[in-house]
């Protein structure tokens, strides 16, 4: 924008368009804040219930840090590549954008598959969400994050179709910006999950 500002004729229409876009992105920030409160509630619930194992497995019995590290790496990398996708989009490089979204999608899917594999392992060994208050809150907190990731993945597919059909116009860019915000947000939430659920759990803090 800035390099072109000298030549750009600032019309009312342009201002209106700009206002509308900032409004949408700002609204998305507000939404993310409410989502933060949602996760905060689930974290609080987990904190209350994490020792209520009711004779079932504890966090130490259950979690394996290397496995979770793998998930974490997948998600962190995907956040990085989502950033690259946004950068490419801002430079109007359509193929690069699609490529990086493709990589992000694959990494996100990897994360999700790893998470579901972990869940099904727990369930298979009899440690499902029915077992104890601790496990209920574990599955719900981590599962809610997983659900967000799923939504993010669906959004990413739609986004890619949208880019293919419409190119990198202003609307697309605005939406890419919001998608990448969303993705980074989930990354941050995961850092908290990793620390509070897994790390503290295994360390027995």
């Amino acid at each position: 924008m800035s390099e072109a500002a000298g030549e750009l004729k600032i019309t009312n229409e342009l201002i209106a368009k700009y206002d509308k876009d900032t409004k949408t992105v700002f609204g998305f920030w507000v939404y993310l804040m409410t989502d933060c409160v949602l996760f905060a509630s689930l974290f609080a619930v987990f904190a209350v219930l994490r020792h209520n194992t009711y004779g079932g497995p504890t966090a130490q019995n259950l979690f394996s840090l290397p496995y979770v590290m793998l998930e974490t790496m997948a998600l962190l990398t995907s956040s990085f590549t989502a950033g690259l996708a946004l950068l490419s989009a801002q430079r109007k490089r359509l193929k690069h954008t699609l490529f990086w979204f493709g990589v992000t999608f694959t990494l996100g899917l990897t994360f999700l598959v790893l998470e579901l594999a972990e869940f099904s392992r727990f369930v298979a060994q009899g440690d499902s969400w029915r077992r104890s208050g601790f496990l209920s809150s574990y599955f719900t907190l981590v599962g809610t994050h997983g659900l967000h990731i799923t939504i993010g993945l669906i959004w990413m597919i739609v986004m890619m179709v949208f880019i293919l059909k419409r190119g990198l116009n202003d609307t697309t860019l605005k939406r890419i910006r919001m998608l990448s915000l969303f993705w980074h947000f989930l990354d941050v939430v995961w850092i908290f999950i990793f620390t509070i659920v897994y790390l503290f759990g295994v360390l027995g803090v």
Partner: protein, 665 residues
């Protein structure tokens, strides 16, 4: 053979069967009303050939003014429903003494009590509030629309279908019999195995998500769409209070969403969040639900305060006194409302330090509230007070709110609360806050802004009757409840022993409720009569009360684009100042972007209803289809970039001159 049939039935229909139909005459009557009323509306629409009109003008509309009107219509409908509940509750409590067990079974009575609370809070108080916000906020900030019109329509329709779901429970199955906040373990599957609690969960969930989206919408609208020159300290006080309220919604409603979800997971997937046993913690639910529930009280009351700030200033022909104080008071209330939730359960057995802390925090809220009260009084001081009905509602509010507030401070002292908790004293207290505060303000607002939206005034004589019936009925209904509380009467009792001597007071309270009922009747009459006589009460100036804020600068009813030319603001009470200065208007007309009508918002909410209904009845296949359809519709909507159309400047000019001539379009 039978076995296979049953299996098939339980796959296709879940828990739904003929047994879900109402079991006794009173419930049959309720169910038939719920079917008959929409049925009659449908017949009426068909006879008058209005279906197309309904679709084009209302169902697909994106105009916040129309959406506001619909919110208020639904809320008035639900006021009647909640009022019918009151009639049954009061009759039962007057009759069910000693050997007699009244007209209702205990379970039915408890369902009615629960429905009354749920409906009055979520579908009456919230509905009236969001209705008025939709109508007035864009006008007061000089905006042509809200930030996200489509989202706004979706919010409304989610609210609407949440309401439909509550009422569906009258026809199929039962409703929660747990009290309006459904404390576990009573609300867990073990003690409430029927669909009642599920209806409660999902109707609140749908309506709650609607409220959350609406809050995001109005936060952005207020922060980003104010007219040129209107900085924060020049916003009308109503807008300030709505901003405070919407921030509270944004922070509090996600907690409700989470809590309801956890309860649903307990009930449907056998989880153990709030179960007694298996590591659940029921008191965590009580903490969570009040971490939402207490801010909810202020979510409702702040806009009410805002309404009174507008009404008092206008009817005293004077600036609002202590504007800055008022803003700080709102900010203080917003912050404090999140650190008082524990006062709803001092009797849990927490330590003295915890109880004392939350008690004192609760009392501190009385300070900003008191400040607001004094500011209103001094707005009237040295003013020219016109005692029209909105002003009467204000005076009634001050009286009732002060009494109720004193009762509230009493209960903020933990040892006193030990004696008053869960008693009818508490019931009287919160009715005085929510009816005397919120509902009175909403009625004042409806009277005050009615001409702005519809172009004619409401009949004032009938309006005064409504007020006096409400005021006398209300005091008569709730003062006895304070005394009953002192007598030890607890809430939600479907029966009591004759030796307690409570019956007379219950009867007096019932008569009071009947007077309120008469007030509601006169209110409906007032609407009908005012519509019938609308030609005599037409508001030709657009400014019938000598108003102060921007909405009064527009013709009544307000054109669909709100402002033909956007105003510029350089002070508080912008329109009041403009009237005094009489500067020549040099503003130009310009093109206006208007959102196109779309049925998608309605469809998404309708699918959310189908999803919720099928989850209640465990019809999983249809729930999955509904959910996938919602996702598809959202994607479809996101693919559409042509959601607006342009109204040319020349057309705006033409329309504007017609409006100014008083044409009815």
């Amino acid at each position: 053979m039978m076995h296979i049939f049953n299996l098939m039935a339980s796959f296709w229909l879940g828990r739904l069967s003929l047994k879900a139909l109402p079991p006794n005459p009173i419930q049959w009557f309720g169910a038939s009303l719920i079917i008959l009323v929409p049925g009659m509306i449908a017949v009426l629409l068909t006879v008058t050939k209005r279906w197309k009109w309904l679709y084009k003008e209302w169902i697909t509309t994106q105009d916040p003014k129309k959406i506001g009107v619909m919110y208020i219509l639904v809320a008035i409908g639900m006021l009647l429903r909640g009022g019918a509940d009151v009639a049954l509750i009061k009759t039962q409590q007057a009759l069910s003494v000693g050997a007699s067990h009244g007209i209702l079974s205990a379970s039915h009575f408890q369902q009615i009590v629960t429905a009354h609370g749920t409906i009055m809070i979520f579908f009456v108080a919230m509905g009236l509030m969001f209705g008025i916000i939709n109508l007035i906020v864009p006008l007061q900030i000089g905006s042509r629309d809200v930030a996200f019109p489509f989202l706004n329509a979706t919010s409304f329709w989610l609210f609407f279908f949440g309401m439909v779901l509550v009422n569906a429970s009258l026809v199929l199955g039962d409703f929660a019999a747990t009290g309006w906040l459904a404390y576990p373990p009573l609300s867990e599957l073990r003690y409430s195995p029927t669909v009642g609690v599920d209806y409660w969960i999902w109707s609140l969930q749908i309506a709650g998500v609607g409220s959350l989206l609406a809050a995001i919408n109005f936060i952005v609208t207020i922060l980003k769409m104010r007219v040129k020159g209107m900085n924060f300290m020049k916003m009308p006080m109503f807008v300030w209070s709505v901003l405070g309220s919407m921030l509270l919604v944004a922070f509090a409603f996600p907690i409700l969403t989470a809590t309801l979800t956890l309860l649903a997971l307990d009930r449907n997937l056998g989880m153990h969040f709030f179960t007694s046993g298996a590591g659940g913690n029921m008191m965590m639910y009580v903490n969570l639900i009040w971490a939402w529930g207490h801010p909810e009280v202020y979510i409702l009351i702040l806009p009410a305060f805002g309404v009174f700030s507008e009404v008092v200033a206008t009817y005293s022909k004077k600036r609002l006194f202590g504007y800055t104080s008022m803003v700080w008071a709102i900010a203080a209330i917003v912050l404090l409302s999140f650190i008082v939730w524990l006062h709803h359960f001092f009797t849990m057995g927490a330590g003295s330090d915890v109880n004392a802390f939350f008690g004192i925090m609760t009392m501190i809220i009385a300070i900003p509230t008191g400040v607001k009260l004094f500011n209103w009084l001094f707005t009237m001081y040295r003013g020219k007070i016109r005692l029209d009905s909105p002003m009467l509602w204000f005076i009634g509010f001050v009286v009732i709110f002060t009494i109720g507030g004193m009762a509230g401070v009493l209960m903020a002292v933990p040892p006193i609360d030990f004696q008053l908790h869960n008693s009818l004293f508490l019931v009287a207290h919160f009715h005085m806050m929510i009816v005397g505060g919120v509902v009175f303000a909403d009625f004042a607002a409806i009277t005050y802004w009615f001409p702005k939206i519809f172009g004619f005034k409401l009949n004032e004589t009938l309006g005064r009757w409504v007020f006096w019936l409400w005021l006398v009925g209300f005091l008569m209904s709730f003062i006895p409840l304070y005394i009953l509380g002192f007598m030890g009467a607890t809430r939600r009792l479907d029966h009591y022993s004759a030796s307690l001597g409570w019956q007379q007071l219950f009867i007096v309270s019932g008569i009071g409720a009947a007077l309120i009922g008469a007030g509601v009747g006169v209110q409906l009459l007032q609407f009908a009569y005012s519509i019938y006589k609308r030609k005599d009460n037409r508001d030709k100036t657009g400014d019938p009360w000598d108003g102060r804020s921007l909405e009064w600068s527009l013709p009544s009813p307000v054109p669909f684009y709100n402002f033909a030319r956007l105003p510029e603001v350089s002070s508080r009470d912008a329109f009041w100042e403009a009237k005094k200065s009489r500067l020549k208007d040099r503003r130009k007309y310009e093109d206006i972007e208007i959102p196109k009508n779309t049925p998608l918002a309605f469809m998404i909410a309708a699918l959310a209803f189908i999803f919720a209904f099928t989850v209640v009845w465990h019809i999983w296949w249809l729930a999955v289809i509904a959910l996938l359809s919602i996702i598809t519709l959202i994607i479809v909507r996101s693919m559409d970039e042509q959601t607006d159309y342009i109204l040319k400047a020349s057309e705006v000019e033409k329309l504007d001159s017609l409006y100014l001539k008083g044409a009815k379009l």
